[in-house]
């Protein structure tokens, strides 16, 4: 039986895996909740964030500046995608934007291969964040502690934005009843644009955060987007709280399965999803009927 400190270390490690998943899943969930768009290109925005990070770091030599600019740049791409592509498909069935974003993800991966090459790039964390800290029960990379902190900050910021600002109020109203919100004279088109920008921007942030840990390569969004769909489905489509808790849960599932039964690590998350769906078909925090 493994000792308690190794187990504590394992839980801590799972927190970072979960953190990156949470950042991706909240954007995915936000976009779905408000716009009923299943954004298959979400992983590609994550990948784009990592590449923009490399690009900006090369240009400015400043990691902190790149960390701020990257989400803005990725969010801007998100704005263009919503305004000129996705907007044309509103009012159609849920499959149409899904197909569009799926195709978009292929285009984005190929474009990145053309621009930056087929071979992965390195993204180095700044000196202050390099090295490992002694936590008592294990050595843990300082950079990963930083990722936990940024994830927490983004979640708090997003919560304040949604619950303490009038724009946040409109977003919440729009996701509950779009027709009624419109009837009250709100231009939901602009809100959708904003939400898509925020969702993709946070995906971009997750990308630049993940880059120094996992490397930067064109296919990096392909597998993680599947895990994020699992997170969103387990948490409940459209539920932000669900996305956060389920992201952390899946992070622990991956971590602990690797610990106890590494052979099962790959399928464990899908088993969790299947079990949750059997017990609660709309996910842990989802409302029934959202998909209809």
């Amino acid at each position: 039986m493994p000792d308690a400190s190794a187990l504590a270390a394992q839980v801590f490690t799972g927190l970072v895996i979960g953190g990156i998943l949470v950042l991706l899943a909240i954007g995915l969930s936000l976009i779905f909740g408000l716009m009923t768009v299943v954004n298959f290109a979400h992983g590609s925005f994550y990948m784009l964030g990592a590449y923009f990070g490399v690009f900006l770091l090369g240009l400015t030599g400043n990691f902190w500046l790149s960390l701020v600019l990257t989400p803005l740049m990725v969010g801007t791409i998100g704005v263009l995608v919503e305004r000129f592509l996705i907007r044309r498909l509103y009012g159609r069935s849920i499959d149409d934007p899904l197909l569009l974003t799926f195709a978009l993800s292929l285009v984005m991966v190929e474009t990145v291969r053309l621009v930056w090459g087929r071979i992965g790039l390195a993204l180095d964390p700044p000196r202050v964040l390099a090295g490992a800290a002694d936590l008592g029960f294990m050595y843990f990379p300082v950079y990963r502690l930083f990722v936990i902190a940024v994830t927490a900050a983004v979640l708090v910021g997003l919560w304040l934005f949604l619950h303490r600002t009038s724009v946040g109020l409109i977003i919440r109203a729009g996701s509950r009843d779009a027709l009624m919100t419109r009837a009250l004279g709100v231009d939901l088109g602009r809100i959708w644009l904003l939400v898509f920008a925020i969702g993709t921007g946070i995906a971009g942030l997750a990308g630049i955060l993940a880059g120094p840990m996992r490397g930067v390569y064109a296919e990096m969004g392909v597998t993680i987007v599947i895990e994020c769909f699992v997170v969103v489905v387990v948490g409940g489509m459209g539920s932000l709280l669900g996305a956060v808790l389920s992201g952390l849960l899946i992070g622990q599932v991956v971590g602990l399965t690797t610990f106890f039964a590494p052979k099962l690590a790959e399928i464990a998350v899908f088993i969790v999803m299947a079990v949750v769906l059997l017990v609660r078909p709309s996910g842990l925090f989802g409302e029934a009927g959202l998909m209809e």
């Binding site: 190794a6 394992q10 071979i119 840990m213 490397g215 690797t258 610990f259 690590a265």
Partner: protein, 405 residues
């Protein structure tokens, strides 16, 4: 006719007169060799290196008149690191592009799928992937050749060296697919023979970039040596994470192989003092004339020194040529027989030979370690040769063990 056109025509005419065999080579139907490689995905950097090696071979063959007077064309296809795609691309190469030979494959599981297609179409296949099964029954065939090292040879040699020099308490992390599993098995067997202790062995899905969940357990187990069977881009991610978790202080790291493109990508801080086997390293040019010849030709064409896997595709294409010239034919079985009858060759690093029972190539390998920051030589002088392991048939399983009567 203006001056430029005049120059072009006279230059072409002069070339034809000076090198009549070049013209002859071009007047016949070209001989096509298919080369499926995982050009995209985590093995992309290694595949690009292999593509460059095959191109050097193609140029050299065409410069001396092609194969049996026919121009050589190597056609590259992306197998995307997926067996189904590899099979499909190979089928297309054979049926649509009419390739008569296939040289290539990098990932062991994809290479097996390629082999199924070449066997079905009676096309001679020279595999450039590390695999134990490819030269063993039931997967091998009389027209399946294996140019690369294999997990048995590599991991017996590296494992023995590591146990004697670095320590005998190991933890193994391996990619959960053909090559990784074979390496894990051979390492475990070798460690047992050396009287060592295996503290643990954990698989992970190939193409993974997140290894942190493996690390706490390894930290608390305190092995002397962490054996990392993490190919391609996984290797850089794995070593980065092991380093960032502060594990390099007490644990030595060894791998079945180093790959020069990966060592370049990760940099000397990550690769410092990591021990591994290798089939070729360009700095051997200082002592081995054949290596110098290959490195010079490669450098001239591509502007960088060749990596280890480039040699497999280079040598594989040249072996197709040698076989055809010996057999005076491009018939798969005749070429295969000719190679078995004349097994010895030497294209880039010294003597190699085909074993008749299993069409396996035997060759030298080396133990190398990564140089640290400040110790590297130029952009690519990243490794240091520690020991040479001379090629010998005893390193592999015997013909009987591999199912050959």
């Amino acid at each position: 006719m203006d001056r430029r056109a005049f120059l072009t025509v006279t230059a072409a005419g002069a070339t034809t007169l000076a090198f009549p065999h070049v013209l002859r080579a071009q007047s016949k139907e070209p001989l096509r060799i298919g080369c499926p490689l995982p050009l995209t995905g985590p093995f992309g950097a290694l595949a690009a290196d292999m593509q460059r090696g095959a191109q050097v071979a193609q140029d050299q063959l065409n410069a001396r008149g092609g194969i049996l007077g026919r121009k050589v064309e190597v056609l590259f296809r992306d197998d995307a690191l997926k067996p189904a795609v590899g099979a499909q691309r190979t089928k297309e190469l054979i049926e649509n592009e009419k390739v008569q030979f296939v040289v290539g494959g990098l990932a062991a599981h994809v290479q097996m799928a390629i082999n199924e297609q070449t066997k079905k179409s009676n096309v001679l296949f020279i595999s450039t992937s590390q695999s134990d099964e490819i030269s063993a029954k039931p997967d091998t065939s009389p027209i399946t050749f294996h140019e690369a090292l294999n997990p048995t040879i590599t991991c017996r040699a590296v494992g023995g060296w590591v146990a004697q020099n670095l320590g005998k308490k190991w933890w193994i992390v391996y990619a959960d697919y053909a090559w990784g599993k074979q390496c894990n098995a051979v390492f475990q067997e070798t460690l047992k023979k050396q009287g060592g202790t295996l503290l643990g062995s954990t698989p992970y899905p190939l193409g993974s970039a997140e290894f942190s969940a493996h690390l706490p357990r390894i930290q608390s187990a305190r092995p002397e040596v962490l054996v990392s069977v993490t190919p391609g881009a996984d290797n850089v991610a794995f070593l980065k994470q092991v380093t960032s978790f502060g594990m390099r202080r007490d644990i030595k790291i060894a791998q079945p192989l180093h790959w020069l493109p990966q060592a370049k990508e990760g940099g000397p801080e990550i690769y410092q003092d990591i021990y591994a086997g290798i089939n070729f390293y360009w700095e051997l040019a200082e002592t081995v004339p054949q290596v110098k010849r290959y490195v010079d030709a490669f450098q001239k064409k591509h502007g960088i020194p060749p990596g280890d896997y480039s040699c497999y595709s280079y040598s594989g294409v040249l072996e197709v040529a040698r076989g055809c010239e010996l057999a005076k034919s491009t018939d798969a079985m005749k070429v295969a027989d000719a190679l078995r009858k004349n097994p010895t060759y030497d294209h880039y690093k010294g003597k190699q030979w085909w074993r008749a029972c299993d069409n396996k190539s035997f060759q030298d390998l080396w133990i190398v370690k990564g140089r640290g920051p400040g110790q590297t030589k130029g952009d690519w002088g990243l490794l240091e040769v520690v020991a040479r392991v001379p090629g010998s048939e005893e390193q592999d399983r015997t013909c009987a063990e591999k199912g050959h009567a």
